[in-house]
Each structure stands twice: as C-alpha cells, then as structure tokens.
Symmetry: C2
Subunit: 333 residues, 2 copies
Amino acid sequence: MTDKISLSQGGGGLDSKQLVDSIVKILENPVLNAQDDAGIVSVGSGKIAFTTDGFVVKPIFFPGGDIGKLAICGTINDLAVMAAKPVAISLSLIIEEGFSKDNLNKIINSIKKTAGEIPIVAGDTKVVEHGAVDGIFITTSGIGFQNDSCQPSGSNVMPGDVVIVTGSIGRHGACVMAAREELGFFSQIQSDVAPLWELLSPVFKAGGNEIHACRDITRGGLATILSEFASSSHIGFEISSTTIPIDPDVKGLCDALGLDPYNLACEGRALMSVSKKVSDEVLALLKSNELGKNATIIGLATDSHPGMSYIKTSIGGRTILEPPAGELLPRIC
Amino acid sequence: MTDKISLSQGGGGLDSKQLVDSIVKILENPVLNAQDDAGIVSVGSGKIAFTTDGFVVKPIFFPGGDIGKLAICGTINDLAVMAAKPVAISLSLIIEEGFSKDNLNKIINSIKKTAGEIPIVAGDTKVVEHGAVDGIFITTSGIGFQNDSCQPSGSNVMPGDVVIVTGSIGRHGACVMAAREELGFFSQIQSDVAPLWELLSPVFKAGGNEIHACRDITRGGLATILSEFASSSHIGFEISSTTIPIDPDVKGLCDALGLDPYNLACEGRALMSVSKKVSDEVLALLKSNELGKNATIIGLATDSHPGMSYIKTSIGGRTILEPPAGELLPRIC
C-alpha cells in the first residue's frame, strides 16, 4: 500500500478490502473482525444488530431512487440480511453551502417514505463551505433486533448449501453508470434499490438456522459477495452462469461497455446460502413476493476447493470467478 | 429561509435550529421531536439510547485532540448526558483520494484509544475523488443502555432547579479558532475534548431522577444549551456571570477578537439542571473527578419568565442571555 489513499480503495473490490482490513486491524475486536453487515451486541436476553453506511452517490437523483432512498435501504438491508428486524435509524447529513433547499426537502421526504414504519430517532446536520463537500453526503446507522432462532453470517456457509439470489443482478450499478455518462437508451435503466426486510423476514421465520448466510449484494457485486462468503467460511462455490438472472437492458449495457455484470452493484438484492432441506421452501417464499419474483438457485457450496468459486459458462467451460480488484465505479452508493 | 442552504445554518445557532426543525418536521415522530442528544428506543424491559454525529472539523489535528478523538467523545457524550452507558460505536469514514495513510492511521489509533473499552462494532469506508470532500469526514453513531432510575431530558427542567456547569467553558471553540487562524500565543490553547461517561455516571447513580436535564455543551456554546432547555421545558434561567468558569487564555482570546465566550463550543463539558436537594452532592461528586474539578453552580431555573434566560453581569446589571443567531465558527466539530 502506498502512503496515500487511492480511489481504487473505495470501489468495493480487493483494494477496498485491503484498506478496510488495515482499519479493522487497529480497531481490533471480535465483533468488527467478523466483518458482517452489522455488528451484534448482546442486550439482556436478546441481541441487537448495529450497522452504519456512508452514502456519496453521484448523481444524487437517479432513475428509481435518490441518495436518501439509497441510504435508508442500505441500512435496512444491512440489518435485514442479519435477520434483524429494523427498529430505529439515525441520519447524519453533511451539506454543501448553496445546496438547493428543494432538493434537500425531496431527499428528506424520500427518506421518510422509504423508512415507512421505522422511525428516524436521531440526527445530525452539518453545513460546510462551498467546495468542502460535493453537494450532500449522508450517513445512516440502524439498530435491529435479532432473533435467537436465526443468526446468518458470512462465516456460516456449509458444504452442500444451495446458493440463491433474490432477483436479477447489477441494476443499481448499471443505472448509476448510465445516468452519470448520459448513455442515451441505457439512461432508462431503473435502479433496483429497495428495502428487503419484508421479503426476507418470512424466509428467516420459516428457515430458521437452516439459513446459513445472507448478504445484500452492493459494491463489488455478486462476485465479491461469493468471494467474501468463500473466504470467511473456508468453502468454495460451484455457480452456473446460465442460471444467474440478468435483465436484458443491464446485459446490453455490459456488452456495450465491456463490463462484467457479476461485478456490478445491486441495492435491492440478497445472496443466500441455505441448507438443501429448506431451499425449495425458501425459493417459493421469495417468489411469492414481488421483490423476489425472479429469485433463482444459482449454485452450490462445496468443501472441495475452499476459498475459490468456479463458474460454469454457457458453452460448458468452467472458470474461476474472481472478485474485482481495483477501481470499479466509485460513488455508486 | 432562502432556496439555498447557507453556511450560517451550520454554525449551531438559531439559523441551524431552523434548518434542523424543517428536517425534523418532515421526519416527524415523537422520539425525534424531543431533539435530545440521543433517541430512546424501548427494548424488552430496558431502554436503548441511539445517537449520531457527523464531524467535519478543520484542522483535523488541533492542540489536545484530532477529528477521531472528537468524534468518539461526541458520541460517548451524547449517550452519557442521557444517562446511558455507552456499549457500542459505529464508524463511517468518507476519505478524499490522496489523503495521507499516516494521518489516517493516527486518526484510527486515536479513535481506538479514546473509545477504550467501548467496541467499534460496525464500520463503513468510502473514498471519493480529489475535491469531492475536504480531507476526511467522520460520522460516528453509538448505542447505550439507559437505566430506569435516571432519564434526564432537556424538557425536564423544573423551577427551582440548580444549574451546574462541569468545568470551564469555550476551550474547544477557542482552540480550533486559534489553530485555524494561527493566532500566535493563543495557538497554545488546548481543546477540552474528553469523554464524559466516567465523570457523569456516579452523578446519575447518586442523583437518580433528581437529575432533571443534562447536555454536553457543543456548537452554540452555553448560551445555546440554556436556550434549548428554556424552550423545551418552558422555564427560564437566572444565571450569574461571575460564577461561570472561563480560563484566562480563553478569556484573552475572546477579548482580543471580540467573541462571546458563552457562544463558544466545548467538547468535554456538560450543563446539568438538578433539584436543589441533590445539588451539593452532585457538585461534590463532579469535583472529585479531575475532569470536573472546576464544576460550578452558575444559576437557578425559574417559572417567572418561561423561555428566557437572564444573566447578572459583574457590575450588577441584568441582561437577556440570547443564543447566537447565525454563523459562528463552522467546522468547529
């Protein structure tokens, strides 16, 4: 690592992991070391999940959402994938002097609408001089209650597990890229940004501890989440490329720009690793919700090549699925 | 309010309050409406305090601290003044491309040291392109457990209450201003930034529900906290200026620059409003701790002029103590 922070350390790939690992090493504690989506804190007989995320997306308004909706969904989803019912959110705003009051109101209204029943119970607002921040940055944190009967973790994947993705991948990354570059036809691509608690909650209830791991697919895309699971759980994956749902518009953008859809961020999709005995029920439950109607089984976990994921291509080949290394799309979220 | 956000809305004065009120109005819920330092969420038989703060201080290193120490103290103190024992902190970093890795390590080490026994259980790191953020911004959130026997609130001040400040005021504001302006002699002024749980915890234990209100004195200074208490509790205050502890170096800076020390931020002081029957015990407990050795009774709460604070001057006059209106010192924290 050089003596300066590089942009590639913010893309969500391997360079980002290096930076985060160096910070986690200093802050050293067992909860943070797990690097799950939320830290778990014991309180009396229950468990509280606690999560935080900073949002710096550009543009702040994009087809299907805005920085406010993105922030609230990000926080709800980090709790949801830990099987923790979101109960309260905090909101920290850093706003550039001269920022439009109308746009601020739009963002706050979007936050209120997206949070729905979950109250924003704490907030902070800073205004900084022109040029000290690019428009508005939002950090949301959230707490949720985790049930004893279901505690998924990235380090919990078992050999033989069935791997399920809850919907088509890469829409958010494709949407932000198209909106940023003003890519004509592709500028119509809508982000998949959505809160996932209502989708995932019945699955956790039905599947209990047979739901081994669950993570929302954000920066670094599907390839990164598979790599994280493989590394934390010391298992490997066998994925079939033909089963991975990718919408035609997203595929078109990827083909046109030479992007790998497996590296593109989603903001309303989760990857689950569940035991075989509940996989059919889980899939049916996901499909019964509009947000999960395209849920698909994309592969299996295996103990035969720990830490590595293989993907079968459409023409019958088999290659290693690697997470992206450096700069992907900074400011995607 | 104009159609653009102004810098004066970030200084901590009345303009800031206007902006925050407009946001709170949209997000409307009873917990946020209270505008205490932390929101209180019920969990089983207990209560969790939840708080968040964004830190944009400039310079990021100053005499007595740095942005990391400031962030952790700010979060610990927002919980501490609600009589909530801090149990977990989250850390969100937004870093400018090109930021010094050495400085980042210094800040993270400072965070670890200041947090002490309180674990950082969740984190997020974003890197943005050069010019999109001024160096580094940090948002910390925290959760704490509140005991049923003591639940101070800014809306809980009672007529006849004794008003206590835990130490000399204005050091942090004076320190940052002097460091920023390179004001020769005054550049030696050390910030008062410090975590307050160890100081306040014995007071809450001893005073219980007789500790009516407690708030850390940050942006907007003593005058702002008194105004917030007066407004939320529909009471007034009679304050004696000669009793308010102000250190000679801070007083010197204020005299030299024509600043009002009552408007200057602290980051390691609290203002308490407690019932008369426990005030002597509270004062003694505060004074027994190094951080509270200069704790002083500075006045009384009264029902004779709700919402207004009067201050007796050293020459026997009596004037209204008003909170600052607009731009004070942006990026003080």
